[in-house]
Amino acid sequence: MTGSLKRVSEQIDRGAVERVAKLARLELSDAELDEATTRLAGMMAHFADIDALDLDDVEPMTQPYELVNVLRDDVPLETLDHNEVLAAAPDASDGRFGVPPILGLDL
């Protein structure tokens, strides 16, 4: 889709915002969803200033210096201490991170 930001800003509704919150794995209250709907639409309308630019023949720029394939020699190096890393987790046991069930539930 190559639509204008202005047009998109006019289409932002509460349903769209709820879908985005779900994608972002963010539990938002009703008040937060209302606020996000207003704010997102307002920001997109403001950002519509770039609709005026002719960008068809412009190459996207993802980073300041396009370094590619930065590799090091394939030799083992010292790694972080296993116990120290696990000690920082909310739940860990038997040398692993602990999480609630991921199977058998309707996600």
Partner: protein
């Protein structure tokens, strides 16, 4: 203008045994004791650790060892820089209780140079903000006028230097988060060339924009601190694999023969007092022998839009790691997905949620090309326009912030008004160029104005020459 002792002077007197690191650090801790309750620059003061490090510095000097160019210098670290075993919060509840298992590269490099860390400084949560009002732990107040903000997001680091709590500090700058608080607190702040300073151990906000940089009392201290931490790091794949240029010779070079650009199509919106200081800066530079040349950078105006699509997009991806599994807090729930949602819903503050939503939206199916893709093309235009300008000039000068320090609460109800604080600083992040703010003149209520000096990638020597000239003519601090 700052009246505190420079880091160069501290390191020189500690290295020769004229003063002890313990005494220097104690003086700074005493100032913290006296004013921290009012300023709230720190999330954590490393009182005992700092005194122990200072003792070790003194012991090494007594044993005849060369300690390094920052011997005994008290330094504050923005609380998004990892410090092994020491809480690192990003001023967010979601990292509650987290102790990193490693040090950021900059932390190791400064420790090797003899620095003593006095604390972890407050910031807008995950560095998202321009006033430090978005911290989960309460705002930092501007030491020059505590009814006003210190700027942000590195407000704690700027305030720590301005209040004399530390001789230097480190911040991070994704869209102006070093330069704007430096301007508002009347100290020097530098965003180096992207890739000049390792980002290993800097908790990521927007990886293609973030850079670590110094806050100092004067330009020469900023040069010293940058030289101590810059240079290739194999641990950061975006680190420039070339030596960083020396800056010390630039400081007394002057500006004779330099061509300095004035951007005639700069976005409007700067207050009259700020504009007057920038005009005066051009006069001073011309008097010192620089040639002032008018240039145009048409894409400058679109920087804010490009930034507020790109930075939240990168942030929404970087902040996906805070899911209650590997670090920080967790809200328990029956299944993993509900645990993610509840943990993130509770752990992140309003501005972080706002940016994650904006970024997720900009990257979502159907909108990627319209938002993120377009913003990346504007970024290319920005790089091209700057490249054209630099064919005729060596450096550029603009305001760092559109206003002097503003009162608490004056921009919090309108995120867009807050975002406009970054209008003049954002382009340098988008294209990876260095830029710095130098205190120059005063505005409303005698509050400091920061003038921004910009240069092409790895153009720090020229940038520092211009900044040093401005500092000299402003009667700067050369203790």
């Amino acid at each position: 203008m700052s009246t505190f002792q420079s880091a160069r002077s501290i390191a020189a007197s500690v290295s020769t045994g004229e003063s002890s690191a313990v005494d220097v650090v104690s003086q700074h801790l005493a100032r913290i004791e006296e004013r921290e309750e009012e300023v709230h620059a720190f999330n954590l003061v490393l009182h005992d650790e700092a005194l122990q490090s200072a003792e070790r510095v003194d012991e090494r000097i007594a044993a005849g060892e060369q300690v390094g160019p920052l011997a005994g210098v008290p330094i504050a670290l923005k609380d998004n820089l990892c410090t092994r075993g020491i809480p690192t919060t990003c001023s967010s509840n979601i990292l509650d209780g987290w102790r990193p298992p490693y040090d950021a590269t900059v932390v190791s490099r400064l420790a090797d140079a003899g620095a003593v860390f006095v604390g972890k400084t407050n910031l807008d949560e995950f560095a998202m903000g321009s006033s430090t009002e978005n911290s989960a732990f309460g705002p930092t107040r501007n030491p020059l006028d505590t009814s006003r903000v210190p700027g942000g997001s590195s407000g704690g680091s700027a305030a720590a230097v301005a209040a004399g709590f530390s001789a230097m500090s480190l911040g991070s700058d994704t869209g102006g988060s070093i330069r704007q608080p430096a301007a508002l607190c009347g100290v020097v702040g530098v965003k180096p060339t992207y890739g000049a300073v390792s980002r290993l151990g800097l908790i990521a906000f927007a990886s293609s924009l973030d850079q670590i940089g110094p806050f100092t009392h004067d330009v020469a201290d900023a040069a010293l601190l940058l030289e101590c931490m810059a240079g290739h790091d194999p641990g950061d794949s975006t680190s420039i694999p070339k030596p960083f240029p020396s800056l010390s010779e630039s400081l007394d070079r002057g500006v004779a023969g330099l061509r300095i650009g004035r951007i005639v199509d700069l976005p409007s919106g700067a207050d009259a007092d700020v504009v007057a200081s920038v005009d005066r800066a051009f006069e001073v530079l011309a008097d010192a022998g620089a040639e002032i040349i008018d240039v145009t950078i048409p894409a400058f105006t679109y920087g804010l839009t490009a930034y507020y699509l790109i930075a939240p997009a990168e942030a929404s991806s970087n902040l996906a790691r805070y899911d209650g599994v590997r670090f920080g807090s967790r809200v328990e729930a029956a299944d993993t997905n509900s645990m993610y949602m509840a943990t993130r819903g509770e752990g992140f503050g309003p501005e972080v949620k706002r940016r994650i939503m904006l970024g997720t939206y900009a990257l979502s199916a159907g909108y990627y090309d319209a938002f993120y893709g377009k913003a990346l093309k504007v970024r290319r235009l920005m790089a091209q326009d700057f490249a054209t300008a630099y064919e005729s000039v060596d450096a550029l000068v603009t305001p760092a912030s559109p206003s002097v320090a503003f009162p608490f609460g004056s921009k919090t109800s309108d995120p867009l008004a807050m975002y406009l604080c970054d209008s003049y600083t954002i382009p340098s992040n988008l294209i990876g160029h260095p830029a710095m703010s130098v205190p120059f003149g005063a505005g409303e209520n005698d509050l400091p104005v920061g003038v921004q000096v910009l240069a092409p990638a790895m153009g720090e020597p020229t940038m520092f020459a211009v900044a040093a000239e401005l500092e000299r003519s402003a009667g700067g601090n050369h203790v």
